[in-house]
């Protein structure tokens, strides 16, 4: 049964991936004429040179043909070459991926480690001052623009601290330009972007843990566990938390694509050389092989994340049936 369920979801996923790449390319195709800005104005190039350059990039074909060729190559592991610098797109992706993962995984791990205890405390002390404070914090977390939070942190911890001669945090990049690169240096650079990124996860997941926990604690089996004299600790953690975390797994699975794209704005604010910023910068330069490559890659992650969340959910919770 589970095989059939997964097979059906896989089929749906293939359709989604095809759809996403087709939509992306259609959009990019509309900008095609503008590719290689100013190429038509360059007096050193004869019209036939321009035509040859365009043909080299496959830009003389109608876009559906380009799409089919591109798709065929991607299925064979060839993402093509960047239209800007001519180096393989896959190299670009693999070069940027570790930076993005470093940032987003830190943020997600921080988010999980902090949000679950906060959510549990909120649920256990429902209505208390602590609970209200956590609620306010979470509501604020939803409303604060990520890029602005980043700018404010830079303003305070980099600009102002440096101004007063206090130890300050680097405002951008993965490592210091000169003589940096050891673990301590990397961590210093990681602090602010990871904080900003995890802030949103924190508000979302702590809120979610809290309501999920409240719901579980009102179940009959919790009353039964208490009635048979189980210690409150065991009730809360063994029966309560374990069941309350099941829906959270789905939520975190759905964040998997956010691991790459969600960090885009934070990457831009902190000049973090990650995948999101790569796609953003290259899109501005009409480098569509690179953009298509990143979008395809990220969409695969989206689909894999959804699938993983569904399967995990079904495995963790026997009440779910595959249908």
């Amino acid at each position: 049964m589970i095989v059939k369920f997964i097979a059906r979801r896989l089929l749906a996923s293939v359709i989604v991936v095809l759809g996403v790449t087709a939509v992306t390319l259609t959009l990019m195709d509309r900008t095609r004429g503008a590719y290689v800005p100013g190429i038509d104005l360059n007096p050193a190039l004869r019209p036939e040179d321009i035509a040859r350059l365009r043909a080299d990039l496959g830009l003389d074909q109608p876009f559906y043909q380009w799409y089919v060729t591109w798709l065929w190559n991607v299925l064979h592991g060839d993402f093509g070459r960047s239209m800007i610098d001519g180096s393989p797109v896959l190299t670009h992706i693999l070069e940027r991926l570790p930076n993005t993962l470093e940032l987003t995984l830190t943020a997600v791990v921080l988010g999980i480690l902090i949000s679950i205890p906060l959510g549990v405390i909120g649920a256990l002390r429902r209505g208390s001052k602590t609970d209200h404070a956590l609620t306010v914090f979470s509501v604020a977390g939803f409303a604060v623009p990520q890029f602005w939070l980043g700018l404010m942190l830079i303003l305070v911890f980099s600009v102002t601290f440096e101004h007063y001669g206090w130890p300050w945090l680097p405002s951008g990049g993965v490592t210091s330009p000169f003589g940096g690169g050891d673990i301590g240096d990397r961590l210093l650079h990681l602090i602010m972007p990871a904080t900003v990124l995890s802030f949103f996860y924190l508000s979302l997941w702590s809120r979610f843990t809290r309501s999920s926990m409240l719901e579980v604690l009102s179940q009959d089996y919790i009353r039964t566990a208490r009635a048979k004299g189980m210690s409150e600790r065991r009730v809360v953690y063994l029966h309560g938390l374990r069941n309350a975390l099941i829906p959270l797994v789905t939520l975190i699975g759905l964040e998997l694509p956010g691991l790459v794209s969600g960090g885009l704005i934070v990457e831009v604010v902190f000049s973090w050389p990650g995948l999101g910023r790569l796609a953003f910068e290259r899109a501005l330069q009409y480098d569509y092989t690179t953009v298509m490559g990143v979008v395809f890659f990220v969409t695969l992650l989206v689909v894999a994340g959804n699938l993983l969340a569904d399967v995990l959910y079904a495995v963790l919770d026997p009440r779910i049936r595959y249908s």
Binding site: V23, T24, M28, R30, A140, A143, R207, F208, T299
Partner: protein
Amino acid sequence: MIDPGGITQLDLPGAAIEGEARRPAQSYWNESWERLRANRIGVFCGALILILALIAIAAPVFSQFVTHFDPARQHLSDNFRSPGHPYLLGTDELGRDTLTRLIYGGRVTLGVAFLTVALSLTLGTTVGLVAGYYGGWPDDILMRVVDVFLAIPAIFLFILMSILFRPNAITLAAIIASVGWGGVARLVRGEVLSVKQRDFILATRSIGARDLRLIFRHLLPNVLPVLIVAASLGVGQIILIEAALDFLGLGIQPPTASWGNMLTNAESYFFHSGWLVVFPGVTIFVTVLASNLFGNAVRDAFDPRLKAH
């Protein structure tokens, strides 16, 4: 009362519930309205949004009589002023008055937000009604399309479309709505699927009502509560998205002020004036906060399922 996935938990005052028992039966709308009015945080936040919207609409009046500055007028000798007199919230790198620009920016930002909500609700509701009511292959096709739009990492879609269309306020709203409608469509379809099963639909059909009449006179009013809730919860998120796009240089283009693009160059001017970073951000934060809290209040008041708890 538990609100899974919700942002806040706002308990209804006991008085409203007590009163309900004594009053004669009320319509759903009256009851919901009473509940909303009883929620003090909700009313306050709703009023705040209304005031901000009114200030934005009356921007020229404020610029003439309150701030005495034009949003685009440069005072190069007065650039990077700190808050004070006569520039209440200071000036930017070109000596433009920050407060006046914030007021004018509110026009753009709030206008785009409301337009986006309207567009995505219209498209999403139509698709959801059709898919849910007819079922079968229209449902399959429409829902696969929704899947695709929800699976594209939204930020990439925004970036590509913004590059393509070089947006003004209206196209920007269309761009953001082109992603937002998918969620609404799913929501409406789900509601329709459950409402469709009820007896009154069968009864209406049995006396010869046509499809269109069924959809617009009977299904639509029943999904309206869900739509109201989705709309009021959506505004805050849309303001955040819009601000982020403006910040990235993909939304409203300077010299038109918007809360997001006022922050675009902020990083370059950190050393000249930190205030430039503070005010637009605080404005966005307060507006989104108020929208979210108002949205929560509306959900608590209008979502009939919460009454069960």
